[in-house]
Amino acid sequence: MNEFVEQFLLESRELVAQATDDLMALEENPGDRERLDGAFRAFHTLKGAAGIVEFAAMSRTLHAAEDILAKLRASHEPVASMVLDECLTCLDLTSRWLDHMQASGEMPPAADIEADDMITRLVSSMDIGEGEKGVALPANNDWLDRLRGAAGGHFPEAVSAVRYLPDPDAFFQGDDPLLVIASLPQLLTVELALSNRTVSLENMNTFRCDLEILALTKAPAAEIRSALLTVAEKAEIRELTAASVSTVAEDYLTQATSVLKAQVVLLRDSGFEGLLGRLSSAGRTAVNALHYLGSNEAITKVELATSAAQAQRNVEPLIVAIERALESKTKADSQPIISPAPIVAPRALRIDMNRIDALVKLAGELIIVKNAIGHAAKRMQGNEDLATVKSILRDQHALFDRLASELQGAVLRIRVLPLRTVFRRFPRLVREIAGSVNKTVRLITEGEDTEADATIVDALFEPLLHVLRNAVDHGIEASERRISIGKPSMGTLILRGRRVAENVRIEIEDDGGGIDVDRVRAVASARGVASEEALAAMADGEIIDLIFAAGFSTAETVTDLSGRGVGMDSVRTAVERLGGSVTLQSEPGKGTVVSLILPFSLMMTRVMTVEVVGQVFGLPLDSVVETTIVNRDMIVAIGSGRAFILRDRTIPLLDLAETLGLARVPQRELPAKIVVVTAAGQIGGIEVDRLGERLDVMLKPMEGLLGSMRGVAGTTLLGDGRVLVVLDVQEMFR
């Protein structure tokens, strides 16, 4: 991993998103050349980025995809959806790799195997898409590593590596691939392998040349290129520059020589177009390369030859001068090169310049207020009339108040992301989900520009996916049914985001069958979610709300999609953990709207206060599920602990006073007041003396000597100046 990984991750995600957008658009309109070009470029840039962080598996996978897109660009035919699917899968794989790198800071361990699979899929998708026409050569950037491995470090003097894939019909064309390789200048070693993995001894066709020939030579790449001119399109040549560190200095001398030689090749290849520029640039390059090599006496000759060539508009004088310089090149100058110290890139975050400007402006205004308050203090010392000072202070306080809240808003806005970052993953997932249950559904996204705290946006993927899955699986009817009731055969899902005051509201609307209240009622009764009497008394809205109850799932058969043992209750839990809420409206036959209402920012923590032995403590509200009052006889001793029954579930119970080591008189006569919390996915109860209020607080983590104190999430100041200790619920149940 190198110092560019952070920027790599940032940019790669943008590129993946961009490529996904383009591919999705291509799917809608397979003839859109612009989108095809865009996708191609995004893959290309991604591949380049992978190269910079030395992520070989990603690089070759993307190379394979890029090859396919390049072919499509050249073919001028509409793009087959099969090919698009594989390219999208390739992007998914890339995303997962990026996730892994971001989470662990390491390259994904299985990337090589995954890359092999992906490349095979990509190549075969193209075969099917194109019929018999073009069989893509497996994109292989790892041959260099294989060659190095086979050579076992025996040839540190190697300058170039060659990969040559002879035409399968080479033998019939009178070619002798091995002779071609054997004729390479300064050949060091040759490795042979099968180019077609499916060939085995049983099915081998001895007249086909299924060979991959790898070779190392001491000659520079330019020389190899000219030796392989007849089979140019079948050969790949690499200069082994940075690979052999021990011979860096030697290598660079060789490279300077090879730059010189390249100028000769360039000049030989020159037509009349841009001749003067070519002459001048080749001359300058040659002079500089000679400088680098320390061949000072040749410099003047090349300079003279350059001006002569320009005057005559003829490349020959310069070619001759460079070739002479090459011949007389001295080898005495091999001072080792000290490689530059690595540069540490600063940790960076991309922020819209306007947001920074807003901060700067606010900072400036705050300084002015500070000065005004200082001024007022001085006047007070100077025995100024108190009334004047009072009015100054009151005005400045009002100003300060406004600026402070603006500053808070501006700081929060730095942490926001548009919903697009999560929304754009869905059109394709919805299509796949719909395909797997034989429905056709289109997803329309609206309000992607709506912003929310990055933490919230990141955490929205799972719950949204769940709701969308439910909508496709249970909401939207099968095509035949839709047609029979006069709806368009294709179902429509709308994923909509918008800002409502301090909240972000996300709606998932479907035009399906709506929720069957009677069925919900029946299922709720059968699963014991509520008693028959209670159900009978409930209004339709309340019944629908039962969908969110734990242990409820209306799907009668467990499908691959929604029936994974989690129902809408998991959505509610996830959203509530983010400080939000979920509501649902449904109209039979028309459809369902699920609304997720989320706070705009997460900087404020919501706590619930509780009292025990006269002391007040806070519990983070996002871990509080509910509060309940339980009769003592419902609490039973289990082993050394206690538990109580809540809606047929046995829930472990802690006594807060006992846990905190506070002494108190047991209150056996009153019912127990219990806060039900979730900790690490488990439900638990905490018995307290008194339930308090909900507060929005800025939580301050424990610092310094108290930093290592366990069981405390942080502290905050209450309105009356008391310190409120907010407890870490997870830790209490450990």
């Binding site: 190269g51 490279q255 730059v259 320390g294």
Partner: protein, 129 residues
């Protein structure tokens, strides 16, 4: 280490990561680095400022590296005589030949290590070692 403080290199690549990567390699060696996002921007830059070397990517939006080279070489001297190092992920012979025909002075296959790039820039800018 030689001083390249007066040597000016123009990096033309659409990928910000690549530009940053090259820039940090080159600046560490004392080169002055200018950036352009595509061939068109690259042309604007060379028309306004003098450069000792241009490092050009092939595949770019708006104007690719090969078109940039063609256009550059057809300009008047001294602009047309700027040495150009073409970098690309394509290692096929056709791509190199296309770059050479367009007037590239050298061709490097990406990915290129920082020290390699810096050393090539040193060769092209010609300070004695």
């Amino acid at each position: 280490m030689s001083d390249y403080s007066k040597k000016r290199v123009l990096v033309i690549d659409d990928a910000a990561l690549v530009r940053t990567y090259y820039r940090s390699a080159l600046e560490a060696r004392g080169f002055v680095v200018e950036e352009a996002l595509n061939g068109l921007e690259g042309l604007e830059k060379v028309l306004l400022q003098a450069f000792d070397l241009a490092i050009v990517d092939v595949n770019m939006p708006q104007m690719d590296g090969i078109t940039f080279l063609h256009t550059l070489r057809s300009k008047e001297l001294p602009i047309s005589g700027i040495p150009v190092l073409v970098t690309s992920t394509e290692s096929g012979m056709q791509d190199m030949a296309a770059a050479r025909r367009a007037g590239a002075n050298y061709y490097l296959v990406k990915p290129i290590k920082q020290e390699t790039l810096a050393e090539y820039a040193a060769i092209f800018c010609g300070a004695a070692r």
